[in-house]
């Protein structure tokens, strides 16, 4: 301690002032895309080696798990990394789902005369679908921006109430939409009356959406989501978000624009939730107002809390667990919420930081090893006094 404090080495000025010369980095401009390419490859293998979701219950579950992970991991950017508390994530999903559904539903009608799935694997229908999911993400991101703004003034409980309100508003607004236009003839002779309010199915929900979602799309998008989330977390951008969670005053004093970090977190999270909404709508063929509701949002909040606030792998594990569990306990459906509540209570008592805290699975192993290597030499005699 003593020695440390007093010595400011002679190279200090050099460090502070010199514009450092070129720093060597490995790889070229494309290296960064490798993990995503690998993820897409895995998605391809899954898609062609497993039976289609329409024919296999297990494939269906696998598909749902993928979508749920996208939702939980994206929520974790807001709740875990940035330390805000959003319980309206399902609202963003619904916004994305409805946007994507209306594009493929009415788009297919206009382009191909019916809402039947068009083209084969990577055919024109698939691209319309992919575009609709991206559009869903973008519209959700805009909603995320709007919902993120209150987070600049509100904290904790108050922000939670605003996000809860957002989800509920989306739900109610969707209930007030008009009935779907069923076929191309009706669509061609449509009048203003049928377009206001927009024909999105009202309280019955939006049904008859072409089922384009498959394992390839779900796991490709999941791969992108995981890579993006991890890269955010381990970058300057993610550090800024985490600093907001840790201490807003210190973060600002270190030059972090906390307003921008909060809104960015909301926008990024909402984008992925919107894309997941598109996947969801085209997997079951229906999306309904209740999908925007509080109950759905709550599921994702539980996953982020159980997994560990900020841990991508922890939240992924929690998402898998909490999606598979109800399937295994199908006969006890009515007890689901009780089990969730119990899980939460136990977690808060036993491990309040969540399964993995802020760490990733692989970091846990590293830590243990390092601890074992350096134990004992951790505290130098000089600092015992301070």
């Amino acid at each position: 301690m003593m020695r440390g404090t007093s010595s400011v080495g002679s190279d200090a000025a050099a460090v502070a002032k010199s514009e450092a010369a070129e720093v060597a980095v490995k790889g070229n401009g494309w290296t960064g895309l490798i993990p995503i390419a690998i993820g897409i490859l895995i998605a391809l293998v899954l898609h062609f080696s497993l039976p289609a979701p329409q024919r296999s219950y297990n494939t269906q579950i696998l598909q749902i798990i993928g979508i749920v992970i996208v939702l939980a991991v994206s929520l974790n950017i807001v709740n875990g990394m940035t330390g805000q508390f959003s319980i309206g994530h399902a609202g963003f999903m619904a916004v994305g789902g409805y946007t994507a559904a209306s594009i493929t539903y009415y788009g297919s009608m206009l382009l191909w005369g019916s809402t039947v799935k068009h083209g084969g694997f990577l055919g024109s229908g698939d691209w319309l679908f992919l575009g609709s999911c991206l559009a869903g993400g973008l519209v959700a991101a805009i909603a995320g921006y709007v919902v993120g703004l209150p987070s600049l003034r509100l904290r904790g409980d108050y922000l939670a109430i605003v996000t809860l309100g957002f989800g509920e508003i989306i739900r109610v607004v969707l209930q007030q939409t008009g009935p779907l236009i069923e076929d191309i003839e009706a669509l061609q002779s449509v009048g203003l009356k049928q377009l206001v309010p927009p024909p999105l199915g009202g309280s019955l929900g939006f049904s008859g959406i072409p089922k384009y979602t498959n394992l390839f799309w779900v796991y490709s998008i999941l791969a992108i989501t995981l890579v993006v989330a991890y890269r955010l977390k381990s970058s300057s951008a993610g550090r800024s978000m985490i600093s907001v969670r840790e201490d807003e005053i210190a973060a600002q004093a270190m030059g972090v624009n906390i307003a921008r970090q909060k809104v960015t977190a909301f926008v990024v999270a909402a984008f992925f939730a919107g894309v997941a909404g598109g996947l969801f709508a085209h997997s079951t063929g229906t999306v309904s107002p209740k999908d925007a509701g509080f109950q759905q949002s709550f599921d994702y909040v539980i996953m982020t809390v159980l997994g560990g606030r900020g841990s991508i792998s922890g939240v992924t594990l929690a998402a898998v667990f909490l999606t598979v569990l109800p399937e295994l306990l199908r006969d006890f459906e009515q007890y689901r919420l009780i089990v969730y509540a119990l899980l939460l209570i136990i977690m808060m008592l036993v491990r309040p930081q969540g399964l993995l805290g802020i760490h990733e699975v692989w970091e846990m192993f590293n830590r243990r090893r390092r601890k074992a290597e350096t134990s004992g030499s951790d505290v130098s005699p000089a600092e015992v006094g301070s």
């Binding site: 301690m1 003593m2 020695r3 440390g4 404090t5 007093s6 010595s7 400011v8 080495g9 002679s10 190279d11 200090a12 000025a13 460090v15 502070a16 002032k17 450092a20 070129e22 720093v23 060597a24 980095v25 790889g27 070229n28 401009g29 290296t31 960064g32 895309l33 890579v227 993006v228 890269r231 955010l232 970058s235 300057s236 951008a237 550090r239 800024s240 985490i242 600093s243 840790e246 201490d247 005053i249 210190a250 973060a251 600002q252 004093a253 270190m254 030059g255 972090v256 624009n257 906390i258 307003a259 921008r260 960015t264 990024v268 802020i358 390092r370 505290v379 600092e383 006094g385 301070s386």
Partner: protein, 280 residues
């Protein structure tokens, strides 16, 4: 929001490049004040801190010293007065804009990011002039990777200067108290400031550690060519290293001058009831 940050940054860049130095003060504070409800916490506070100067700010508990820092760093907006850094007006800037313009601080109550590593605490502060946005972050463009690597190297070098590089991967909350105080200073330096505000950096240290700290504050000023404003209750330390000292009491500046002058000022002696000043 974005454009104003960039504006500030651009301006500060101009100052750094131009020949703004000279006899005038780097940090020029003119009669700033703030009150909380009826309490006039700071009144008509003025300060002219030259480039690479080492000045002190002292006063009894509750005198308004930390409040001055909060005014200088944009945590509070002054009710009156002006703050100028180089040729740049700072009065109404947000804290992060003021940090970007070149004023960094430490906190009286340590405010590290406890669940970030020591290295990440430094990196967070060092990244404030980074240019790469979200898109280059997620595709890991070459430019982004170069910038991150440069940041990592610089942060490690900074830790090395203060002999904390061995603790780089540890959580900040696992450091000893003395090391945490030190990391606060390193973190502030990582923002590459022109002015460094230290709020009671010696609080809680033992006499030897205080002596070492005094040395290292002087060295920081010399090596990094940064102007330092130091709040400290330890009179001998302040008298020893500061070139000029401002004394606050109940938010009012009761004395200003060289250590010798301040020390013999009857108003200062009265404020401190004579205690602790004789032996300085």
């Amino acid at each position: 929001m974005k454009s104003s940050t960039e504006g500030l940054a651009a301006k500060s860049g101009l100052i750094a490049g131009g020949a703004a130095s000279g006899p005038e003060a780097l940090l020029d504070v003119r009669e700033i004040g703030i009150s909380f409800g009826g309490l006039k916490a700071v009144q008509k506070f003025s300060l002219r801190l030259p480039r690479a100067g080492l000045y002190g700010l002292i006063g009894p508990n509750g005198a308004g010293k930390t409040t001055v820092f909060n005014l200088l760093t944009g945590v509070y907006q002054p009710d009156s007065g002006e703050i100028q850094l180089g040729s740049q007006r700072l009065g109404q800037g947000k804290p992060h804009e003021i940090t970007a313009a070149g004023i960094a601080r430490t906190f009286q109550n340590i405010r590290l990011f406890p669940s970030l590593s020591v290295l990440d605490n430094v990196r967070l502060a060092g990244q404030l002039h980074n240019r790469h946005g979200l898109l280059s972050t997620v595709i890991r463009s070459r430019g982004y990777r170069r910038e991150e690597e440069l940041l990592r190297q610089r942060s490690l070098e900074l830790l090395q200067i203060f002999e904390l590089q061995d603790r780089a991967d540890e959580l900040a909350s696992n450091l000893s108290y003395g090391h945490q105080r030190k990391l606060e200073i390193i973190r502030a330096l990582a923002t590459n400031p022109k002015v460094l505000l230290l709020d009671e950096p010696a609080a809680g240290l033992n006499p030897q550690e205080k002596f070492a700290l005094a040395e290292s504050i002087r060295q920081i000023r010399d090596r990094f060519q940064v102007a330092v404003l130091l709040i400290e209750h330890d009179m001998p330390l302040v008298m020893k290293i500061c070139e000029r000292i401002t004394v606050l009491e109940y938010g009012i500046t009761i004395s200003e001058g060289t250590p010798a002058n301040v020390q013999n000022d009857p108003r200062v002696i009265a404020a401190y009831l004579g205690a602790g000043l004789e032996d300085a």
